[in-house]
Amino acid sequence: MSGYTAHFRVWRGDVEGGGLEDFKVEVNDGEVVLDIIHRIQATQAADLAVRWNCKAGKCGSCSAEINGRPRLMCMTRMSVFEQGETVTVTPLRAFPVIRDLVTDVGFNYQKAREVPAFVPPAGLGPGEYRMFQEDVDRSQEFRKCIECFLCQDVCHVVRDHEENKAAYAGPRFLMRVAELDMHPLDAAEAAGLDRKRAAQDEHGLGYCNITKCCTEVCPEGIHITDNALIPLKERAADRKYDPLVWLGSKIRRRPAGG
């Protein structure tokens, strides 16, 4: 395959308004969408705003929507499109736009702050932590997250309902709660912090209706829904909706207390 000229439509504008602008641009063998956006920048629109960083799918900066689907521009190869196909690139549509393809992702940083941090276990100093691989596997999967926020963007709970942003942490940060709750040495419970209950009461786990778009768009292939959100829902159900567990904990606590 040699070079050809592709038709791109790129959203340009800011919070006051904007629209899709047409570009005819050269495409070469092996290129990705971000290469084409860079070529537009270098040759046709020097001030085209785009956020990017590593261009290797590791940093999660170049999130955008390509033909309506949330994706990383650096990991979307041009070869997935027909040569005659128009490629439409817009900013993430769940967040406020700043300029062109750049959006204000502050929502995510705000939510990150609302998840209580790892609580180190009392009595264990640095170098004394012992954890087994099978115990860290689950949380390690979630720590593969590169915080591209595509899951936060695609999640209809906030994408389609701005008013839910206050109450709902979004898949990325519910997964963070799951990660900490499954961390073998997290001592939140000893410190009086119930992450399972908080997931439901403070981070809006109940808003999630497990329609799995977060998993579909995750560029790291993390099974957000099956391995983080649903297990977290089950853990919350343990706390709040399971009379057997409730009864069991009452019975078990009594002799210990008495």
Partner: protein, 651 residues
């Protein structure tokens, strides 16, 4: 005076990668109100791309490991040019820095008995790299990021404001370090008073006043065409320090990582982690030969296997066999690949073959090298479990950097300025070992934050910011918007993207992995021309998130730093580590104790000098401190004679 928002902080950290965040954590924990400024979003710094691991002699996998062995490996890797006190501190403190990460929530891969697992890497005698699959840098950055958030949560509980003591200014670029006006009445010279920055999102200017500034901005790779570095690596911290009057050390040493992707063209340079070789991957040329056996240099002859059989046995029984030469330090492997390609034994796209598919079962490859599997599958349509990768050298790391005091990370000659991480020089000598970078970030990030906080606390009166400098910085930053009106006769303004591409091509072709005197002189000539043109780099549009403008401003830094590299490389007439001269192909013991320092030619900070011969940079030679006797005693005499000059040996 331009309308500029001003804020007061105790410590300002420029850069939010591993070193910057570790410095910020330390400074805040020691009571300093700390601001972090970064060009990207918080948590996106180049550190995320580090794959292999963090080198620390914890002896979890091989009980013989200790800091002395790590120190020895580091000095060997750096060909004895390392600032030895840094290498000593690094080797001693790295394990504590790794263990500390666990108390902040990091989850490393584990050994069978529940400790942090450690893997083999080039140049390290024992398995030493704490790792998480092949995404260790991501784990490091996320852990530090989350530690920062946890400190902010504490502050919020106490003061009601998350950002009262520790604030991250993301997507903000520093263009100048501000200094006090020298006071003729006192003996004290000029010292740091703050930084001048612009917000990328709005284009607004910002002055953060602070007695102490830590630069932790990483490297310079974006001056080269084929690089594993991200757009941020424009040598900002190097240039800021230089412009503030601090010297840069040994800038000729640029590490070319032996294994970057070579195809397709758009991903050329993206890193292929050294773990591929650490875990059993082998290099072959087009004839199918494991050519590295032909490239073991004399100084390493006793340490590496002589036959494929011995090399293969080493993975299972490292105590009784020597390691395969694929695990030589990076400079050796990169040069070997370069030679093979030149000799016509390269792969179809101009690299060599790196093969794991015949060495490990597919399932093991996918588990141990998940990002590599993913990267090749997605970007090159190559299934690394079934076929070999094509790889070649890529610009990866700069060993040179701001000359610092080993213990305090204080930059020389500029009170209040500190540097840590890749931007600081000295630690790695002429070549860095894989895995020593992440530990460097943590060890010296912490030290920089600590001493910056101490320095700020010892400062009685807040150093006054000079309004003239602020105005000058604002005018400098706005210049690209009026490129046309400044020199109306000189023709249309220059496109910053074009200038950048020409700079990258020149550095790649003329000051790349193999260097020649004539080519470097040519490079200096081109840099001078580019410098003149860069003054006319113009941009359209306005200041709100305008990448063309950002690049136009970054060009100043890249041109300064590129000149440092070219000038130092021309000066050092030997081959050592990351500096290879075709016209001086061997290591020369007389160069061992020599440091090259770059300083700004025009100390007033003006950049008018366009004369290619004189340029912006002056070079001075400096003799290094002799290595402390007890550290020297860690080596065998026979080994030392290969590196050290006669007079050093018999002192």
């Amino acid at each position: 005076m331009a309308a500029v928002e001003r804020q007061q902080w105790d410590v300002v950290v420029v850069g939010a990668g591993g070193a910057g965040l570790r410095a910020a954590i330390e400074a805040r924990e020691r009571g300093a109100r700390t601001a972090v400024i970064c060009k990207s979003l918080f948590g996106k710094a180049h550190t995320v791309m580090a794959e292999g691991g963090i080198a620390a002699a914890m002896a979890n996998v091989n009980e013989h490991d200790n800091w002395q062995v790590h120190f020895r490996d580091t000095l060997r890797g750096g060909k004895f040019l390392n600032q030895w006190r840094m290498a000593e501190l690094h080797a001693k403190e790295a394990p504590d820095r790794v263990w500390e990460l666990e108390t902040w929530g990091a989850l490393f891969d584990r050994t069978k008995d529940g400790k942090i697992s450690q893997r083999n890497f080039g140049g390290h005698e024992y398995p030493r790299l704490a790792h998480v699959g092949d995404r260790t840098g991501l784990e490091l950055i996320r852990t530090l990021q989350q530690k920062i958030v946890s400190l902010q949560q504490e502050d919020q509980k106490e003061t009601g404001d998350y950002e009262s003591r520790l604030k991250v200014f993301q997507e903000c670029t520093v263009t100048r370090i501000l200094k006090t006006v020298p006071d003729s009445r006192s003996a004290a010279g000029s010292r740091v008073s703050g930084v001048f920055a612009y917000e990328r999102e709005t284009g607004r200017f910002l002055v953060l006043e602070a007695p102490a500034v830590v630069v932790a901005t990483g490297g310079i790779g974006k001056s080269f065409k084929v690089t594993s570095n991200s757009w941020e690596y424009t040598g900002d911290g190097h240039a800021l320090a230089l412009l503030a009057g601090a010297p840069l050390l040994n800038m000729e040493f640029v590490q070319f990582h032996p294994t970057g992707m070579v195809w397709p063209p758009s991903v050329k340079g993206i890193l292929v982690t050294e773990s591929v070789r650490g875990d059993g991957g082998v290099l072959r040329n087009s004839e199918g030969k494991r050519f590295m056996f032909d490239y073991i240099p004399d100084v390493f002859k006793e340490k590496y296997a002589e036959s494929e059989e011995e090399g293969d046995r080493w993975y299972e029984d490292p105590d009784h066999n020597r390691r395969p030469p694929e695990l030589l330090p990076r400079d050796e492997v990169a040069r070997a690949i370069n030679s093979e390609v030149k000799a016509g034994r390269g792969s179809p796209h101009g690299g060599v073959f790196l093969d794991v598919s015949t060495r490990m079962p597919a399932e093991v490859i996918r588990r141990r090298l998940p990002s590599m599997y993913h990267q090749f599958k997605e970007l090159a349509d190559v299934d690394i479990t079934a076929e070999a990768m094509e790889v070649g050298p890529t610009c990866h790391y700069v060993m040179g950097g701001v000359a610092v005091d080993s213990d305090t990370a204080a930059a020389r000659g500029v009170p209040g300025l500190f540097a840590a991480g890749e931007v600081a020089g000295g630690m790695h000598g002429s070549n860095r070992l894989g895995g020593n970078s992440l530990s460097d970030l943590l060890v010296f990030g912490r030290r920089a934050g600590w001493h910056a906080a101490d320095y700020a606390a010892d400062t009685d009166a807040r150093p006054a910011v000079d309004d003239q400098q602020v105005d000058a910085a604002a005018a400098e930053a706005l210049r690209p918007f009026s490129a046309e009106s400044q020199q109306p006769d000189a023709g249309p303004p220059e496109n910053p993207y074009t200038l950048h591409q020409e700079l990258q091509q020149s550095m790649n072709d003329l000051v790349g992995i193999i260097r020649r005197e004539g080519e470097m002189e040519q490079a200096l000539q081109r840099l001078a021309e580019l410098r003149v043109r860069a003054r006319r780099a113009g941009v359209e549009g306005h200041r709100q998130f305008n990448p063309g403008w950002h690049l136009a401003l970054d060009l100043r830094n890249m041109l300064l730093v590129s000149e440092c590299v070219a000038r130092s490389a021309l000066e050092r007439t030997e081959s050592r580590g990351g500096h290879t001269r075709e016209d001086h192909p061997t290591m020369d013991r007389r160069w061992r104790p020599v440091n090259l320092l770059c300083r700004l030619a025009d100390p007033t900070g003006g950049l008018a000098a366009a004369d290619p011969v004189r340029g912006q940079i002056t070079l001075t030679r400096e003799t290094t401190d002799p290595i402390r006797a007890d550290l020297l005693a860690l080596f065998e005499k026979e080994e030392l004679v290969k590196y050290l000059a006669e007079e050093e040996l018999y002192e």
